[in-house]
């Protein structure tokens, strides 16, 4: 079967279109669809809220989109146990709404929470600033059910917070890019919603001064749940996004954003203490509750960049003009060293500095492709030297193969390919998207 050409055909991402969309409303139906579509020789591309369709390599062969959004029920929510079991198609916003009725939350940020599904967030290992203080998706998942390419339902973990029976499939499926199976259900550890939250925002005209404060805050008396750095232009745009009054983000300075969540007494003390510990001349603090600037900024940082990129370059959403974005991961103390190697007239950067994660974005039309090729290689080498790696989270489709979305082959990819082969020997699940030949 060939790729559908019609622009009416549903999108798979990267300009590819699906032969059909299947939207099962139960796991049983989903298993049946998987068996049938695989027998028809089609690939299966799982989709949730479709917020990350362009993420990863280009779909390799024709197939169907498998829409999980009907699997969106809350299966079990024993609030007093601080766990919840949900269908993978539930959106992050809906989940948080359910948890809020019991004064709880999942401490995980993701872009487009109104449409992004938990299954999608977990398959792509998406998280934002709170990862520093609250952990990553892998730290919150205790059970997973998924359907493999042969239509079988498989589970790992369970519904209790401590459990070492069997291999840790919840971790294996987290960040697996839909390439081992379709996540249908997950059990998550949740937390009591903190009473208070606050941001401490400091501006720096020199990156070196900010770097010194990052090192200082590594042993701060306070315990921030976020420690993010915004490059000058990124800070400017984010301020416009948050769109509230004047604060430190406005002045095209390097910006450090520290976040605190705890009870009110603790947060108040930490805000005061952090302000005293920082060397920056200009420090603003925002102690706020729900629907606040804090929340707006958190969401803006988590969602950065897609919408903002358009606002600076005015480009349409034509595929060839999609933004060029990367995520670099480096040793946790090396974020400022990496940022030094970024040319600020090319890149906007938002870094989860305490975790060693740098997101950066550019307009690919600014420079010829060869220049970007060299630039990406140079930055990859820099990330590598700093103990990490660099992946392209978005880039023009026709550049994907050459620029190598996932970077150069690594020593552990061979065993990943074998794991893929063990659970999906025919390459039915999301072919072409992930590392190596997966």
């Amino acid at each position: 079967m060939d790729w559908p050409e019609s622009s009416d055909a549903p999108p798979l991402g990267d300009g590819r279109r699906a032969v059909a969309v299947d939207r099962p409303d139960s796991v049983e139906v989903l298993r049946e669809i998987v068996r049938r579509r695989a027998a028809e020789g089609l690939a299966i591309y799982p989709q949730g809220g479709k917020t990350a369709l362009d993420y990863g390599g280009i779909p390799r062969r024709p197939g169907v989109a498998l829409d999980t959004t009907a699997l969106n029920s809350v299966i079990d929510y024993p609030a007093a146990d601080m766990t919840i079991t949900v269908g993978s198609g539930i959106t992050l916003a809906k989940l948080q709404e359910v948890l809020a009725t019991e004064g709880q939350f999942l401490p995980l940020d993701a872009p487009h929470p109104d449409s992004a599904t938990l299954g999608g967030i977990y398959a792509t290992n998406t998280c934002g600033p709170r990862r520093f203080g609250w952990g990553r998706p892998r730290d919150m998942i205790i059970g997973v059910s998924f359907v493999t390419a042969d239509g079988k339902g498989v589970k790992g973990g369970g519904r209790v917070v401590k459990n070492v029976a069997g291999y840790d499939f919840p971790k294996l499926l987290t960040g697996s890019m839909g390439a081992l199976g379709i996540i249908t259900q997950m059990t998550l550890k949740v937390r009591p919603k903190p009473e208070a939250s606050a941001l401490v925002i400091a501006g720096y005209s020199r990156l070196g001064d900010l770097a010194a404060d990052l090192a200082r805050m590594n042993t701060s008396d306070t315990r921030p749940m976020m420690m993010d750095v915004l490059s000058p232009e990124a800070g400017y745009l984010l301020e416009a996004e948050a769109n509230r009054g004047s604060h430190g983000l406005r002045e095209r300075m390097w910006t450090l954003v520290l976040g605190y969540e705890d009870n009110a007494a603790s947060v108040a003390w930490q805000v005061q203490r952090a302000s005293a510990e920082l060397s920056a001349g200009k420090i603003e603090t925002h102690t706020t509750g729900e629907d606040s600037l804090t929340r707006a900024i958190l969401l803006a940082i988590s969602s950065f960049p897609a919408d903002r990129i358009e606002s600076i370059d005015g480009s349409s959403d034509h595929p060839s003009q999609s933004p060029l974005s990367f995520v670099a991961s480096v040793r946790r103390g090396s974020v400022s060293a990496f940022l030094e190697s970024l040319q600020l007239d090319r890149w906007l950067a938002v870094a989860h500095a305490g975790s060693g994660i740098i997101h950066a974005h550019a307009n690919p039309l600014d420079l010829p492709e060869e220049t970007w090729t060299g630039e990406i290689q140079r930055l990859r080498d820099a990330a590598d030297r700093l103990g990490g790696s660099l992946i392209l989270s978005r880039c023009p489709i026709e550049w994907k193969a050459r620029l190598k979305v996932w970077g150069d082959r690594r020593g552990d990819w061979a065993i990943m390919e074998k794991i893929k082969g063990a659970l999906d020997p025919a390459g039915v699940m999301n072919p072409g998207r992930f590392v190596g030949t997966i």
Binding site: G158, N218, W269
Partner: protein, 487 residues
Amino acid sequence: MPLASPATSLSSQLLADLSKVVGEENLLHHRDELVVYECDGYVIEKNVPDVVVFPTERDQVVEIVKLCNKYDVPFVPRGAGTSLAGGTLAVGGGVMICMTRMKRILEINLRDRYAVVEPGVVNVWLTRALAGTGFHYAPDPSSQGACTIGGNLATNSGGPHTLKYGVTVNHVMGVEMVLPDGSVLEVGGLAEDGPGYDLTGLVVGNEGTFGIATKIIVNLTRDPEAGRTFLGVFETVDAATETVSGLIAAGIVPAALEMLDNLMIQAIEQAFGFGFPTDAGAVLIIEIDGLEAGLDREAHAIHEIVRQNGGTVKKSIPWRTRKEPEYVAIWKSRKSAFGAIGRLSPTFCTQDGVVPRTKLPHILRTITRIGEHYGLRIANVFHAGDGNIHPILLFDERDPEQVERVLLASHEILDECIACGGSVTGEHGIGVEKMSFMPKLFTPDDLAAMVAIRTVFNPEGRCSPEKMLPGGGGCLERKSPGHKASA
């Protein structure tokens, strides 16, 4: 399970080759030397390995594994042998690769918040090396004075403070391991979120069935600024477990929340004289930590919830570091509980079930009922905040009829944990002990997927054979319990 005949089967050529790799001084093969290695903390099943080797470098591990392949003998890695589920039992004999001489802390990097250790590093050595730096390695099993970080990695160990801080898998960033074919695999690294599957997350808790860890990168956590540790005293176990549910439901996430019942209190008081009230039905050790500025509020709430459930807070220990004498004393008492139990009974059997925390009152009542039904004394000391129970069944192993009753009671308790939606192991592992429960927790399709993953790493099953996953022929029910210690 039928166990292979004792040490004789290895060829003298293999012994000579192994000796060349590690040196005479790092190899044991006389029967009397091997007896120590016939079992770990799970003493029901014993089998001596044919030879024990103590590599000191990764490349020696590679060579040993290649020799095992060449001579077609099974091999099993071992740390300090504190496993409570027979994870290091040399099923079928073969070569035991004891990692305790690879014991260097290779690097501590506070700015990047990691440490690199060899697998034989004892858990508490790292704690000590980090003392005063403002950072610590969070997982703290009760056996931390003996157990190795390599062993912790294999079983995904917990401990009292995992309630707030997570278990081993939440604190391992990367692993270098020798695979069963002798190749070296590195997963994870010094940075978070490398491209590809989370192999680090998969490798933690593999119980030695994927290979042998030779280097481990662990995450370092900031010390809390301050803490308060309370001793809550209750007339009944019920009141204590209701308090646990009350605390969690009130949105308090303690750093640790441990329960001891009357039998356990008596044993500990006899052994340590910490000052636990011996007439109490149960005590709770409730610990909170965080910012001093925020602790008063939580402390007040804890007092109130304890009072509402008819208890009293007998001790309140405020601390800035975990070295203050009263703090050290209370935790020494808790973590040495299993040593103290020897005063009550010549032999005991510890279980490791997990239930949703709200089911604690139910499971504790059930344990009491099961104990009465089988005429057994059962002591309880456990990680209440995680719902991770450790009922200790006291018996005399010389009486086969008692042994039989202990076995039946243990299985009934674990079956009830499953019925409550829980698990049969929270931190000790499946090992050889609990393989028969795997089909009760998982479907044939779940287990087939696990076998498929094991086969990727360990295609010939030569590394840690007959562990964790039931074999093709099904698994025999274990015949008897034994003396065991616990996390």
